[in-house]
Each structure stands twice: as C-alpha cells, then as structure tokens.
Symmetry: C2
Subunit: 219 residues, 2 copies
Amino acid sequence: MTPKVSDPVRASETEAAILEAARDLLAEGGLEAVSMRSVAARVGLSATAIYNYFENKGDLVRQVVHQGFERFTSYLQDAVKDLPKGSRERMRAHGRAYLRFALENREYFRVIFAAHGEAGEIDELPAGGGYPMFRQAVAEAMDAGAIRSADPDLVVLYLWTLVHGLVTLQLAFEPDARCPHSGEQLTGLELFERFADFVYQGLRPDQPSLAETTEVTAT
Amino acid sequence: MTPKVSDPVRASETEAAILEAARDLLAEGGLEAVSMRSVAARVGLSATAIYNYFENKGDLVRQVVHQGFERFTSYLQDAVKDLPKGSRERMRAHGRAYLRFALENREYFRVIFAAHGEAGEIDELPAGGGYPMFRQAVAEAMDAGAIRSADPDLVVLYLWTLVHGLVTLQLAFEPDARCPHSGEQLTGLELFERFADFVYQGLRPDQPSLAETTEVTAT
DNA sequence: GCTGTTATCTTAACGCCGTACACTAAACAC
DNA sequence: GTGTTTAGTGTACGGCGTTAAGATAACAGC
C-alpha cells in the first residue's frame, strides 16, 4: 500500500502535506489548534508518523513559520516594486505592507513573537523579513533628500518599531478592532496613515499645519 | 486541621497565597510554568482545591495579571509625579516608565498581550494602565505649547504604539537584548531616547540638526 | 447531644497533550 | 532469498485542565 523505498518525491510530498495541514490549523484556530494528533488526522496519518519528518512539535511549527516568512518577504517585495526608489512613498508602502500582511496572517505573527525563551524564529527577522530591503529604501530616501539625514539603522529601527507596535496592538485587540479614538474609530491601516504624518512632521510646535505638508502621493 | 467555618479572613488568605504562588511561577518560568498542579504544590494544596477560589486556570491567570496591572499603574504614577505638568519631560518619563516596567516584568506583559481570542485582560489597558494619565500629560503639553497642537488621542496612540512596539521587540529578543544597530548595540532604554528625538523633530529634511534642538532636560 | 448544612479539602478519573518505544510491512540491494 | 531501509502503526507514559464523588470539620437549630 505504502511505498517503502527511498522515494524523495513521495517523501517530500508527505512532508509538504504535513506542513500544509499544520499551517491551515494554525491559521484557523491559532497555535492551540495545532497538535500532533490534529495535524496527523488531517493528513490521514497517525500522530507518531510526523516524527519521521520533523524532530518534534517545535520543529514543525518552526518550519511552518519559516515558510510564512518567505511568503512575507515576497509580499513586501511585491508591494514596493513599482514605487520610485528614494521616495517617501516607497518607505510608506513598506510599512503598509508589513501591517497588511500581519493583519491577514495574524497567527503567524502571534507565533513568531510568542517565541519566548528560544528566540530561534526571531533571528530571521532582522536578516530576512524585508529588513535589508527596507533599510535600503530608507537609505535611498535619505540620499534623495526625501527625509532627514541620520543613521539609517536608527531610522529603520524607529519606523519598524512603530509599525510593529501598531501590528501588536491590532493583534491584541480582536479581529478587526478599531482603536479607541476621540471622534472616530480608526482601523489599523487608517492609524498607519495618521501616524505617518507625525513621523514625517514630528511633534515640534510652530510648524505648518499637517494638512498642508502632508504627502500628496499617499493613498 | 483545617477550619471549616465561613472564615473570610482565612479564605482570602488562601486565595492570596494562591495568587502569590501563581505570580511567582509566572515571573520565574513564564506561562508554561504555571499549571494548576504546580501552583497547588507551592501553596501546599491539591490542584482541585484551587477551584474553590477561581473558576479555572484562565480566571486565575487573569487575576494575577489584574494585580500586576495595578502595580503598573502606580509605578507610572510614581515615575511622573515630580515632573512639571505640561512639559515634554513628563511625557518622556511616562514612556520611559512604561518601557522599564515592561522590561522588569516581562512575563506579565507577555501574558497580557498573548490574550488572543478573548481579549478580556486587554480591555483594562485603555481604561487603566496609565492611559488617561498619559493622555492628560499630552493634552497639557499641547496647551503649554511644548508640542504641536493636534488631536490628543491620536498623539497618545502614536506615542503609545511606538513605546509598545519597543517593548514588544525587546521582549521578543532575549532577556537583555540589544537591537542590531550600525555602530553600537543599543539597549531598549537607549533606543527610547534616540526615538524620542525623532518623535519630536520628525524626519522632514532641512531641519536644524538633532543635537542642537534635542531637549536638554532629558536624561 | 444530635442533625443537617456548609465550607474546604482530597482522591480518582476523563480526555486531551507531546513523545518514546516496539513493532510491521513494503520496496529495494545483493 | 535474505537482509536492510523506509514509512507507517499501536501502545503507553507522564503531565495537563477539569469534573465528580466523597471525606472532614465547624457551625446552627432543635
């Protein structure tokens, strides 16, 4: 019934099926919905069969997250590829894409940043995950005079931190939460646009009004 | 051996002992170290006895977090009480205290923002947790002309998001992590000070250099 | 003093979980 | 045909949250 020879195609097909099942369960019900038994049942195997392909549950989840990371990176690439280098719009598109992806793949992000203790998964973030891409966009914007000249790493970290905070708060409050706000209730993406103005203008008083200097090319 | 009369003192003492055990276990080993059995063992009871005081594990953890929240709020109050109202220093102290408390009580924050699904715990954040306190500090700073006039809620949300992002990243990377940065490796608190400059000045080019206009009163 | 009630606690058990172990069956190499 | 390897199974262990049933001690009312 089952082929028992070293058939790398078959083998990696099974492995891919396990990964897919785990990914779906994660997206549907969060990490607590992912158990060796639930994953196995979805693939049509017994729980222990998974150990032929993955060391343990941690390994399985790590590889699921790793796959998500690669999707994330290409998502970011797509989001900025048509925007002019050195422009603030390109930087903004980076942040927007980061936020959008996080909101559309909530469980990935939750798992990634729940990695308390081992890190491991997190190590990919600065290396991959669009960090160098974004760093380059910031450096180009500085060279083009679109933003103030400063330590690009510091600026990247500043912007990344802000977007990441927005993501975290959006994920903490529930699914399409709107943060409390004086008049209106704003979605995460709307908040992003408002924050972008503060980022550019700063909070220093005696400046031209926000409306006048707001980037016209922004969506 | 055990008093079996309705003795509210004894009863609440036991409840407090359970809460304390759970809190210690949480701080020591994170959420995974907190099990009904481990908490019970530390108090000297059987696991099921806890159900006389708490509905279930979720309820127990929620109350632990709630207690931590109250400590958090008074921590913030202490941090700003001596600083002049309407000053940027007071705002800064708020953010600094938020960050410091989070770094010193890592597991509380992790648990609070791992509340995926129910929220519940999170609901306290905007209400308590220093949010109104901080909002007032921002509004006063606006009135005093220390920062630009704008929707105070939006500014509060902007600053809160930034600090919260910093907290989250610091908690994700391990214990006293330093974020990757061009030259030096900066701690969370050092990054906070650098970010504060960007917040005030913005990223708009053709501004006086950061050094000249940086707030002199900042620590 | 006896009886019931109530509060507090225990032990046993259920169904999950991750995982280790022993085992089986099929495909291959020789 | 005989081994070896590969991919799978079933069983079992200890730990988890939680439920259910029972024990015991202090009280109230008679």
